[in-house]
């Protein structure tokens, strides 16, 4: 985990924007090899979008070959409603830059079949080759996208009921009328975010300080879904001083010192070069088969999480061979004894493997 602390929100936003730009430039995207960017909405990333637009207008960056996937969208408000995330993205980003509309993906909160929409969204991400960089923000309760407290850390794109606190917080955008605030949303899952090759989260302001503390200094916890980032190979959190209010002085000093030392050594923590140029294959979870989960058939919460290592660039450790217990009959040395055993253990094994694979 990298934690980058800047004096104020402006310089934190600027750091993130510049980081994204340098990532895209280094990636050198083409039509056949686009850079896939995950995008958030909300107040935290506003400054980042503003700076990205400025840099685009100054000719420093082109988004022509950037494919975007948004994190979430409300259910049940018109797409062009001023508070919809389609409108947010249009107003703050897409209308100002040269993103190709064919490259833009946002969940459709008015889809006739919301479940199918979610499954298709996951498929689209896969078809795009996975997400190179997922930018995110968090809520005061530490939610990433609309993965409210208690969301499964293995969750994928799905329909989500909003937490009462989030509805209250959002009511300011809907004339303070709780009845008008959408109560449901479509959102990518925690697992969807974690499968991105890199995750960058921007956290600004004192209101988010407790969430940051929970995610940095405490363990992985579904009540603070951002804490799942600890399991990602390349996470980076960028925050301002205000957001560090709940952190221990020691923690803040530690992360600052790392950045400082690295800079004096002329070395910055960077991604493995394969990731930076995007030549690596889509990270695969090591589970035998990933079934696209849905509402009716949710993925079982197993320790998959710990196996779900997208770190394909690391040498894959050879797995210890499975224990195959031999039979006492083999050791006894009485011929024909195995014939007496039915069914045949070898055949039994083959049959059971076949049934697992089915």
């Amino acid at each position: 985990m990298r934690l980058i602390i800047r004096d104020d929100s402006e310089s934190a936003s600027s750091y993130v924007a510049n980081y994204i730009i340098s990532r895209i430039k280094h990636f050198n995207p083409t039509t056949a090899h686009p850079f896939v960017l995950g995008l958030p909405t909300g107040s935290s990333p506003l400054g980042v979008y503003r700076i990205l637009v400025e840099k685009y207008k100054a000719g420093e960056i082109s988004f022509e070959n950037v494919v975007t996937f948004n994190m979430d969208e409300y259910i049940g408000i018109p797409r062009d409603h001023p508070e919809s995330y389609h409108s947010f993205m249009w107003k703050h980003f897409f209308s100002h830059v040269n993103v190709n509309p064919n490259h833009v993906h946002i969940l459709d909160g008015n889809a006739p079949n919301l479940e199918a929409e979610c499954v298709e969204y996951e498929a689209k991400i896969k078809r795009a080759g996975g997400i190179d960089l997922f930018l995110g923000g968090i809520g005061e309760d530490g939610h990433i996208a609309f993965n409210e407290p208690g969301s499964s850390l293995a969750s994928r794109t799905r329909v989500k009921t909003l937490a009462y606190d989030t509805i209250l917080a959002n009511s300011r955008f809907f004339g303070n009328d709780l009845d008008k605030v959408p109560k449901m949303a479509l959102t990518v899952g925690v697992q969807t975010v974690l499968e991105a090759r890199e995750v960058v989260v921007v956290i600004l302001g004192a209101r988010k300080a407790l969430a940051l503390q929970k995610c940095i200094e405490q363990g992985v916890n579904h009540m603070w879904t951002l804490s799942s980032l600890q399991l990602h190979p390349h996470p980076m959190i960028v925050c301002d001083e205000d957001a560090t209010l709940e952190l221990q002085v020691k923690t803040v000093k530690y992360f600052k010192s790392i950045e400082k030392v690295a800079q004096t050594q002329g070395f910055e923590q960077i991604l493995p070069s394969k990731l930076r140029t995007g030549a690596s294959p889509v990270p695969q979870t090591v589970v035998d088969e990933v079934q696209s989960p849905n509402i009716l058939a949710p993925q079982p919460v197993t320790s998959r999480f710990l196996q779900a290592s997208p770190a394909a660039e690391y040498p894959v450790r050879s797995v210890s061979p499975d224990l195959v217990p031999d039979r006492m009959a083999d050791r006894v040395g009485i011929p024909n004894i195995s014939r007496r055993l039915t069914p045949q253990p070898e055949q039994q094994r083959v049959a059971s493997v076949a049934s697992v694979g089915a």
Binding site: D80, W90, S95, V104, I106
Partner: protein, 438 residues
């Protein structure tokens, strides 16, 4: 609405593009404000585009992005009283083909002044002239393409049902009174005042008449039911008579203060209806801000009495755009001359003001200088307000989604006596039709 009928493509985009143009870095007139916003227009449909929908639904990016460098992007100007321009007087009797050709020339010239739609105005004339000229002056929007220039929103007939004592320079001999609707039909011709069976709107969109003459006040509902706007003007109406006309459906006053009784403290006359009186809606009113017809302070008073009804008009004659000199003018039966000296027009052999030869943008600049109004207020007087008066709100005079993409790019130039607005570019139906040489 005749104007909302889907019509033929307004232009054909070059190089197989989608015809979308995006304006950026501009101050767009929206309501009472100039807002920093992008504007998307479509030259094929000729409309302002809901950009977000074009992006998400049609997956479109604009063919061209135009950086206006912070200049003002205003809806195209609407002129409600124009007697002629660039040497052609609408009140002339000509061969139909020649008349049509002249109109086309005027439209192409006029659009360069920022006027993208207008009401060609015919002064008091003999019935024959109305019948020959009016068929060419009807609303042209559905048939017009961008290259045709300014479009007519329908004719304005200023007369001949005017009060002879307030005739201005109109010939007294041709003035008459109406006792019944048949008298109006007799004067203008039936096809010019009624919608035909195909639903094509009548040529006449507005009539200026004196409500106190004959049965005129009683005829107002007959006109408004046919979609014709009744405007009070060239009238001796008292406050009571004017109020009765408003109650009957009059919604406009033609060149307020000129050719009517002045405000008197015991009888406020026509001007009085701008006060919130008799519980009647307040009418719109035309103001000629040329420095001749009205004192600047009078304009300020009129504006402050009812800002939402304030419409700037030029009442310009065909001499606008021509050099100084004496010009022939058909006036009812006789032909007289109007002497042009700079912006002043005087009827030869008298001291009567004979209309103006000012352009609408000059009126806007004058209004800005004299009243200290804001730029949006001044621009509304030639865009949103006249559109509302004509019942064309949302279509003309604004740059809302779905409105006609008639636009003027304006730059501000500071002069010794205040701010001047200059027309840099004019766009009609989403296509650029004029660019100022610098």
């Amino acid at each position: 609405m005749p104007h909302s009928v889907p019509s033929s493509p307004k232009s054909t985009p070059k190089n197989g593009g989608n015809g979308l143009t995006k304006f950026t870095n501009c101050r767009v007139l929206k309501g009472d404000k100039l807002v920093d916003e992008d504007l998307w227009v479509n030259s094929v449909t000729g409309k302002v585009v809901r950009s977000q929908a074009a992006f998400y639904d049609d997956l479109c990016l604009p063919d061209e992005t135009i950086n206006l460098g912070g200049r003002i992007l205003s809806p195209g100007f609407i002129e409600c009283q124009l007697n002629g321009a660039f040497g052609f007087n609408f009140s002339t009797s000509l061969e139909p083909a020649v008349y049509a050709k002249k109109i086309k020339e005027v439209n192409k010239q006029l659009v360069k002044t920022g006027v993208t739609s207008y009401m060609p105005t015919i002064t008091s004339q003999r019935s024959e002239l109305y019948k020959s000229a009016l068929p060419f002056l009807g609303p042209s929007g559905d048939y017009q393409v961008a290259e045709d220039g300014a479009e007519s929103l329908g004719a304005h007939v200023e007369g001949p049902f005017l009060n002879p004592t307030k005739n201005g320079i109109h010939s007294v001999d041709v003035l008459r009174e109406a006792q019944s609707f048949e008298d109006l039909v007799d004067c203008y011709g039936l096809s010019n005042i009624t919608t035909d069976e195909t639903g094509r709107p009548s040529s006449i969109k507005m009539i200026t008449a004196a409500p106190e003459l004959g049965q005129m006040t009683r005829l107002i509902p007959e006109l408004t039911s046919r979609g014709v706007i009744y405007s009070i003007g060239h009238s001796e109406a008292t406050y009571e008579e004017a109020s009765a006309a408003i109650a009957a459906g009059a919604t406009m006053i033609t060149h307020l203060f000129n050719a009517m009784r002045p405000l008197h403290h015991r009888n406020p006359g026509i001007f009085g209806v701008l006060g919130i009186a008799e519980s009647l809606p307040r009418p719109y009113f035309g103001i000629i801000a040329d420095g001749e017809h009205l004192h600047p302070t009078t304009i300020k008073i009129a504006f402050n009495s009812h800002p939402d009804g304030f419409i700037l008009v030029t009442d310009a004659m065909h001499m606008v755009g021509l050099p100084d000199g004496a010009y022939e003018w058909t006036n009812g039966d006789c032909t007289s001359h109007i002497v042009k000296k700079g912006p002043k027009l005087i009827l030869e052999g008298s001291d009567k003001i004979a209309g103006s030869s000012i352009t609408l943008i000059e009126c806007v600049s004058n209004f800005l200088k004299w009243t200290g109004a804001s730029i949006p207020q001044a621009l509304r007087a030639v865009t949103t307000t006249p559109a509302a008066m004509l019942g064309l709100q949302g279509l003309k005079g604004c740059l809302d989604n779905g409105a006609d993409a008639d636009m003027v790019v304006l730059s501000e130039s500071q002069t010794n006596d205040g701010l001047d607005l200059v027309v840099d570019e004019v766009w009609k139906f989403g296509t650029k039709v004029f660019s100022r040489q610098t």
